[in-house]
Each structure stands twice: as C-alpha cells, then as structure tokens.
Symmetry: C2
C-alpha cells in the first residue's frame, strides 16, 4: 500500500480508475487483475507490488470511494440556505459535476452494493441509505412549504425529482453531453416551479 501511495497523483488516479471501471463492470469475482493492469497500462506484477492481493486492492477502492462520496455530501451542505428548487438544482449540478470529475466512483459504489459477498456490501448499502436521508433532510424544509399552491404536494414532488435524478444519472453513462443535460434539468425545474409555486413566490 505505501508503495502505491508514493506514486504521483496522476498515476494513482489512472490505476484507481482502471480498477474501479473493471470491478464495477464485472463484479469482484469476474474482474481480473490482468484486465485492470492492461487498462491501466502497467504490468500485473506492479499491481501486486502495490496492493499485495486482489482483495486488498478491492478493499482500498471501497474505502477510497466511500470517503470521496462522503466528502461530496459534505460539500452539498453549503447550499442549504437558498430556495427549495435552487437547492435541488445545485445538488444536481454538483452531482453531475462530481460524476464528470470522477466518473467511476458512483458506478463502483452501486456495484459494491450488488456484490453477493454480504460483508462489505451491507456496509455500503447503509452508507447509501444514509446519504439519501441526508439529501432528503437537506432539500425538503418546512420553510418552503408555504410557497406551494398545495403544500401537501411537496413530499411527492421531491420523490418525483429523485426519480428524475436517478433517470438522468442513468442516462448519462458514457462521455455524454453534460451541459445539455444540465440545461434540460434547469428547464424542467423552472417549469415545475412555475406550476407548483404560488405566483408571488416566482421571484
């Protein structure tokens, strides 16, 4: 492990991305060290030099990804003061930004949760649920309910936005056009805000 951490940041990222991509695509068992080494452009022996065993590499990736994920959550807290729709928009932009900057972590986390080996996957599932609750509390605040034509719509609207978010993240996948998606998302939010808010709160 120290051997790996002594590498330059770029090389670390290169190797991590290759491993994250392989593991998230194929799962722990079917992902092979050979594939990862080839994708990273280094020799298989180096990987074992850095991480010792396949399981060690995997566990390192799990920890690195969860801390990175938690950090992303922390960042979102900064924008807790604006209006409901603005907060949602900020959260989505940050999510997509994070996805652009670090494309493999989200897919990897999801793949870990699907692993049959229960030990780690349960822990990750907890982390994801916790993150979702965190997001819920951060977005949906009583102070905004008064702005709705029908305040009782708010929870269902929030769940709707979550569905949209999942759908959009799923559609992104490859090197898709982020800006176009962000733009469409902004238009969707603007449209929904217009219809769900009372006139006097449409700024």
């Amino acid at each position: 492990m120290e051997k790996f951490l002594a590498l330059s940041d770029e090389k670390q990222t290169l190797i991590r991305n290759a491993a994250l991509s392989c593991f998230s695509q194929h799962g722990y068992e079917k992902a092979s060290i050979n594939d990862i080494a080839k994708m990273a452009g280094i020799s298989k022996a180096s990987l074992f030099q850095y991480f010792g065993t396949k399981q060690n590499l995997y566990e390192y990736l799990v920890e690195h990804s969860s801390t990175q994920m938690k950090a992303a959550y922390q960042e979102q807290a900064l924008y807790a003061n604006a209006d409901f729709f603005d907060r949602v928009q900020q959260a989505i932009i940050m999510k997509i930004d994070n996805l652009k900057k670090n494309p493999y972590i989200a897919a990897f986390i999801i793949s870990v949760a699907k692993e049959p080996s229960i030990e780690i996957s349960e822990h990750i599932k907890d982390l994801m649920q916790e993150g979702e609750k965190h997001l819920h509390d951060l977005m949906l605040r009583d102070a905004d309910l008064v702005k709705f034509k029908h305040p009782e719509d708010a929870p269902l609207l929030f769940r709707t936005l979550m569905h949209i978010g999942y759908g959009i993240v799923d559609e992104i996948e490859g090197v898709s056009d982020f800006d176009r998606i962000v733009c469409e998302m902004e238009n969707i939010l603007k449209m929904l805000k217009y219809h769900f808010y009372k006139e006097e709160y449409l700024l």
Copy 2:
C-alpha cells in the same frame, strides 16, 4: 436448436432466464456456460446439446428478446386513444407488468447494447431507438396540447416523464414491491395533470 424447442415451455423458460440473467450480469465474454447450467439446474453438456455453441445460445437469446420486446410495443398501440396522462399511465403499467412477467429481458437487451462486439449491439441500439420514437409518437399527440395551460410545456413534460420512467425502472431491480411503485406513479401523474392541465380538462 430443435432439441431445445422440443422441451416443455417451463423448462425452456427456466433455461432462458438463467442464460439471460448470466449474460446480462456479466456480459458475453465473462458469462460462462458453467454458471448458466448451474443456475438452470441442468448439466453443461445439455446446454451444448441444445445450442451447439455459446455464441449460438447468445444469438438465440438476442432474437427471442427482440421479438418479445417488439410484441410488447405492439400491445401498447391498443391504448392510443385515451387522454395523454392516461396513455402514459397505461404505458408505464404495461412496462412494469412486462417487467414483472419477464424480468430478465429488459436487462439483457440493455446489456447487449453495451457489448463491445459491435455487430449485434448496433442492431439492438437501433431497435431501442426505434422503440423510443414509437413510444414518443404514441404518447404525444397534438389533440392533447389544447388541454395544457401552456401547450409549449408538453414536450418537456414528456421528456420529464421519460426520465421518471427510467429512474423508476432502475429502482425496481430485485423483487421490489411493484404495486407500491405503480401506486406512487399514479399519484405523481395525477399531481402533474392537476397542475399542467386547464381546470376544464381535469374531468
């Protein structure tokens, strides 16, 4: 192949589902005949007795899945007459019903589109795009535009609903509670209809 088609329908489905599940989880290369045979509860030799080669089995699954998918599209055409929101609701219910009855085909089709071997995957991508366009034309009809408070919202609202649909399908995954999701979907549509339609079209 004739050997396989001579089997009882239940056994055919059992074997198909095992193969679809393995191929969609692991992709063509990493999915092994051993895994499929074990999951289907038959011997590996039988699989080769039925299909000859791995590639043959895969191609059979591709064709079977595309015809099944096309059949599902045809069925949807029956509901082309109702109101916009009713059509969308019907389409989602049918989609989820089909997903419940035939859980592995949708995931398999998506996995085929992701295959690096371009030959088949391109054909499947075309089929998916075609299906999406078919759905679009089926749902969004000029006759309904007059019911909207702002007719220009309709296309974006439709895209929003597509995002929601993707998100929900993605959330279903396992043996989740279909009825709960259908119910939530109905509530979401009712809410959106209320806010987007003119009062006189709320029946």
